[in-house]
C-alpha cells in the first residue's frame, strides 16, 4: 500500500463513524425531533439508497456505538429509520428523477445486491452511465432472495430499487457473468470500469455422509426457493444445523411453512452463537427449540429419504482464532434425532468459477476476491470488487459501505485522480465524558415487528401515534457529535460558532461551565478557547459571558435584539 500522501479527516459522531456507510444518523434524528420526517429520509438517502430496508433488517452498528448506552439505552435508531421511510411511503409515492449524464465513461456492475446497487446509485448521482448485470430474474441479491418476507417485505425491496432505477441506472437481469459476459467482453463493449459484487451464493456443506438424501436442503437454497414463490415440501420434524442469523431465518421459515417441530442444532453453547440475541429471541418466540453442544456425524436415510440425524456431543476447549471456544467432540457420544428434514445453515461461500483466477485471494481460507480494503482495487486495472465477495458473508450495511467506496474509487480512476490521496477518512468525535448529569429517559419507541392491517383512517391515526413516539425517542439523542449537518434550519445554524475576543476574556470560566458540550476550555494563558469541532453554535456561552467577550458568528446578540425590536411601534 502506498503511503498516505494527504489526509482528509472528517469528524463524526460515534453512530455515524461506526456505520460502514457513514449514514448521517445524528442529522436525521435531529430532523425527527423537529417532526421533519420527509427531510429525514432525504438525509438518509444522501448516504445510501435503502432507508426502508435498513430500517428493518440492518444489524445497526450505530446503536452499538450510541453514546446514550452510557446513560441508559441506545437511541432506537433503526426503528426511527424504518418509521420515516414508512411514513414517506404511506404519504405518497416516492419518485426520483433521472440524473443528467455528465460523463461519457460507461461503467459495468456485476450483481444487483446491496453492494452493486449502491455503487450504481452513487455513480449515477455523479452523472455516469451505469449498467448493472444480474443473473437472477429479479434484483436485490440476498435482500430479495434470502431474507424472509416476514422480516423484509419484498415490495419494500422493490420500491427502493425502483428509486435507483429511476435515477437512470440501467439494470439487465438474466445475464450471468462468466457465461453471458466476461471482463473481456465488457471491455470490448466499451465499459471503462467494472465493479464485481456477486456476493456469496453457495451454502456451505456439512460434509457428512447422507447429505445427498432427499430432505436435505441448504438454508440459502431453501430460503431462495421459498422467496422465488416456489412450493417447498417442509417436513414434520426439521433440524437446522448452525447458529447464525441464516439458521434463525431458515428455522423460522420452516416453522411458518407448517413444520411441527423445528430444532436448531449448534455445536457450541448459546453464548458463542453468532446470531444476534434479538433474532434468537424471535426464533424462541416462534417456538423453535435449541440443542447446544451437538454436531452432526451423519444423516441416516430410509428409501433415499431423511429419517434421522446422528450427532456427537461436544465440549468447549480453548478459544480459537475467532475468539470463541473451540468445540471438541466427546467420543462415543453418538445419538440420533428422528427428523424428516435437515437444513444445513453453516454460512455461504463464493462461487469463483465465473472469474479469472488472477483475481482470487490465495491467502484467504474461503474463496474470495483479493482487494485493497480502502480502495477496493483488484489485481486487474479498472476492475474493482466489494461486498460479500471480498469480505465473506457480512451484512447489508457493510455491502452498502463497500458500494460507496467503490464508487469513489471508480470516479477517481476514471478521472485520473490518485485513488488514495486526500480520500476522506473518518474520526469519531464526541463531547461527553461525564454522563452523571444527563437525565435517564426510557427508550420510547420500539417499532412494531409487523404492521397491523388497518383501514385508511386507522392508518392515519396509527401513523400519528407513531410520529409522536418517534419525536420523543429522537429527543433521547444527545447529539454527542459535532454539528449534525442536518441542514434543518440553514439560515439559522449553518456553521454558527462561538468566537472569543481574547482582549476582553478574563478567564472567569463561566463559558466553560455553561457549554453543554465541553467545547470551551481555558488555554495556558487563561483565555477561553473554542473547539470548533465540538461547538454546535447554541450560543448559551454568548448569553452568559460576563465580559461579553464571546459572540456568535452568525447570530450575535445585536442581531437577536434588532430582530426583536423590528416590530416595536410607538
Amino acid at each position: 500500500m502506498t503511503a498516505k500522501t494527504e489526509t482528509n479527516v472528517r469528524k463524526l459522531p460515534p453512530c455515524r463513524a461506526a456505520c460502514p456507510a457513514h449514514v448521517n444518523v445524528q442529522g436525521y434524528v435531529a430532523l425527527i425531533q423537529r417532526g421533519k420526517f420527509k427531510e429525514a429520509v432525504e438525509i438518509i438517502r444522501r448516504d445510501m439508497p435503502f432507508p426502508a430496508i435498513c430500517g428493518r433488517v440492518c444489524f445497526s452498528p450505530c446503536e452499538d456505538a450510541c453514546a446514550r448506552v452510557n446513560v441508559d439505552q441506545a437511541v432506537a435508531i433503526r426503528g426511527l429509520k424504518r418509521l420515516v421511510a414508512d411514513i414517506e411511503r404511506e404519504t405518497g409515492r416516492i419518485k426520483s428523477e433521472p440524473i443528467p449524464k455528465k460523463y461519457g465513461e460507461k461503467i459495468a456492475i456485476i450483481g444487483a445486491g446491496p453492494a452493486g446497487l449502491t455503487a450504481a446509485y452513487e455513480l449515477a448521482k455523479l452523472g455516469y452511465p451505469v449498467t448493472v448485470f444480474e443473473r437472477m430474474s429479479e434484483t436485490g441479491g440476498m435482500m430479495r432472495y434470502c431474507i424472509p418476507e416476514f422480516r423484509l417485505e419484498k415490495f419494500v425491496v422493490a420500491n427502493e430499487i425502483a428509486y435507483i432505477k429511476d435515477l437512470g441506472v440501467e439494470i439487465k437481469t438474466g445475464v450471468e457473468f462468466g457465461k453471458d459476459i466476461t471482463i473481456q467482453t465488457l471491455q470490448d463493449e466499451g465499459y471503462k470500469a467494472i465493479f464485481l459484487a456477486i456476493g456469496t451464493q453457495l451454502g456451505m456443506k456439512l460434509n457428512v455422509p447422507g447429505e445427498d438424501l432427499e430432505g436435505v436442503i441448504n438454508a440459502v437454497d431453501f430460503l431462495r426457493t421459498v422467496n422465488l414463490g416456489e412450493h417447498v415440501e417442509v417436513g414434520e420434524r426439521v433440524a437446522v444445523v448452525g447458529g447464525g442469523n441464516t439458521a434463525m431465518d431458515a428455522a423460522r421459515m420452516a416453522k411458518k411453512l407448517g413444520a411441527k417441530e423445528v430444532t436448531i442444532l449448534y455445536r457450541r453453547s448459546r453464548e458463542e452463537m453468532p446470531a444476534l440475541p434479538h433474532e434468537v429471541e424471535l426464533a424462541e418466540k416462534d417456538g423453535i427449540k435449541f440443542y447446544f453442544l451437538v454436531a452432526p456425524k451423519q444423516i441416516i436415510g430410509e428409501n433415499g429419504k431423511v429419517k434421522a440425524i446422528e450427532c456427537l456431543r461436544m465440549r468447549l476447549g480453548e478459544p480459537d482464532e475467532s475468539g470463541r471456544r473451540r468445540p471438541i467432540p466427546i467420543s462415543f457420544s453418538e445419538h440420533q434425532y428422528e427428523v424428516d428434514m435437515v437444513i444445513p445453515a453453516l454460512g455461504q461461500v463464493a462461487e469463483t468459477s465465473c472469474m479469472p483466477k488472477e483475481l482470487l485471494n490465495k491467502e484467504a481460507r474461503a474463496p474470495s476476491i483479493k482487494v485493497d480494503p480502502a480502495t477496493l482495487e483488484t489485481n486487474m486495472l479498472g476492475v474493482f470488487a466489494g461486498g460479500d465477495i471480498a469480505t465473506g458473508p457480512a451484512s447489508i450495511i457493510e455491502a452498502v459501505g463497500a458500494g460507496k467506496r467503490a464508487a469513489v474509487s471508480i470516479h477517481r480512476y476514471l478521472q485520473g485522480i490518485d485513488l488514495r490521496s486526500g480520500r476522506e477518512e473518518v474520526e469519531e468525535t464526541t463531547w461527553v465524558k461525564n454522563w452523571g448529569y444527563i437525565n435517564k429517559k426510557e427508550r420510547r419507541y420500539e417499532p412494531p415487528v409487523e404492521k397491523p392491517r388497518l383501514s385508511f383512517e386507522e392508518t392515519r391515526e396509527y401513523l400519528e401515534n407513531l410520529k409522536q413516539h418517534a419525536m420523543f425517542e429522537a429527543f433521547r439523542c444527545l447529539g454527542c457529535g459535532p454539528c449534525a449537518e442536518c441542514l434543518a434550519n440553514l439560515e439559522l445554524c449553518e456553521g454558527d460558532k462561538a468566537v472569543v475576543d481574547e482582549t476582553l476574556c478574563i478567564g472567569c470560566n463561566v463559558c466553560a461551565v455553561v457549554c453543554p458540550f465541553g467545547a470551551i476550555k481555558k488555554n495556558e494563558k487563561e483565555i477561553a478557547q473554542v473547539n470548533e469541532d465540538l461547538c454546535k453554535g447554541c450560543g448559551i456561552c454568548a448569553a452568559r459571558c460576563p465580559e461579553k467577550a464571546i459572540t456568535m458568528k452568525k447570530l450575535p446578540n445585536e442581531k437577536i435584539l434588532s430582530l426583536a425590536l423590528a416590530i416595536v411601534k410607538g
Partner: protein
C-alpha cells in the same frame, strides 16, 4: 392571526421546540428563532422592554427534552433572575413568560400564543412606549438592564447550576433556597448600584438626594457609593458647600 391591536409582543423561540407545522404559528406574531432558548441573554429581554415591548414570550423545549442537554434550564434560571429584577423596577413581571412547548403537546402553539396575548392585553400597554416621557420607571428598567449586563449577576447566573448541584472549592454546596436568597441579595444590590449610576449620569447628585430618590437610608447609599468608586463606576464631581456630589463614570 393574533389580533395584536397595536400590542407589541415578541416571541423568542427555540429552533427545536416547535415542530410539525410551522403553519400553526400566527403569521402576525413576531418570532425570533434562536438555536436554543438558553441562548437568550437576559439583558436583551430587558432592552426590548425598555424600548416599549408589551410582552416577551420565551418558548423552549419541555424538560427533559433539550437539544442542548439543559439549555432550557438555563433559560429558566435567566427568567427567574429577570423576574426578581423586574419586581424592583415596578414593571409587571407578567410581561415575561416562559413556555415549555413540546411538539407532541395536545394544544397548538397558537393556543398558547393567543393566551399570552390575552394576558398582555389585560395588563395593558407598556408605560414605556416609545415617545413616552422619561419617567422613573424608565430609570428603573435601565438600571435593571445594566445590572443584567454587569459581571456579578452574569457570573452568578452562569454558575448557578455548578453552585447548587456541585460543590464549590471550599467543599460547600448551596441548597436551592440558599442560592435564591443569595440571588435576591445580589439582584437588589446590583439594581441599586446601577440605579445610582443611571441617576448620576445626567447630573451630579449628593448622597442625600440619592437617598431621597431611592427611599433608602443615607448610610446605605454611602456604602454603595464607596463600593462603586472602588469599581470605577462613579467619581466625586465637585463639592457644594460641604456636600460632595457624585457623577457616573462611563463603564466600558
Amino acid at each position: 392571526m393574533m389580533e395584536l391591536e397595536n400590542f407589541n409582543v415578541v416571541c423568542f423561540m427555540c429552533n427545536w421546540a416547535f415542530c410539525q407545522e410551522e403553519m400553526q404559528i400566527p403569521s402576525d406574531l413576531n418570532i425570533v428563532r434562536v438555536m436554543c432558548i438558553g441562548r437568550i441573554d437576559p439583558a436583551i429581554i430587558l432592552e426590548t422592554l425598555e424600548k416599549g415591548m408589551d410582552g416577551v414570550m420565551l418558548v423552549g423545549c419541555k424538560p427533559p427534552d433539550c437539544h442542548f442537554i439543559d439549555g432550557n434550564l438555563q433559560a429558566e434560571r435567566a427568567v427567574k433572575m429577570l423576574r426578581k429584577l423586574l419586581k424592583l423596577t415596578g414593571l409587571e413581571t407578567e410581561r415575561i413568560k416562559l413556555l415549555w412547548y413540546s411538539p407532541t403537546d395536545e394544544k397548538t402553539f397558537a393556543y398558547y400564543a393567543k393566551k399570552f396575548l390575552k394576558e398582555i392585553k389585560e395588563i395593558g400597554f407598556s408605560p414605556l412606549k416609545r415617545g413616552a416621557p422619561k419617567s422613573k420607571l424608565l430609570v428603573n428598567v435601565l438600571a435593571a438592564k445594566n445590572a443584567a449586563s454587569d459581571f456579578r449577576l452574569r457570573v452568578l447566573l452562569g454558575r448557578e447550576k455548578e453552585l447548587t448541584e456541585g460543590v464549590n472549592v471550599y467543599g460547600e454546596k448551596f441548597s436551592v433556597e440558599e442560592f435564591d436568597a443569595l440571588l435576591d441579595e445580589i439582584v437588589t444590590e446590583e439594581f441599586v448600584r446601577h440605579k445610582i449610576h443611571v441617576l448620576t449620569k445626567t447630573e451630579p447628585l449628593s448622597v442625600k438626594a440619592l437617598a431621597d430618590v431611592l427611599e433608602m437610608k443615607t448610610a446605605n447609599v454611602l456604602r454603595h457609593i464607596v463600593n462603586m468608586r472602588r469599581k470605577n463606576m462613579i467619581a466625586l464631581d465637585h463639592v457644594e458647600g460641604t456636600t460632595p456630589l457624585y457623577k457616573a463614570l462611563e463603564v466600558k
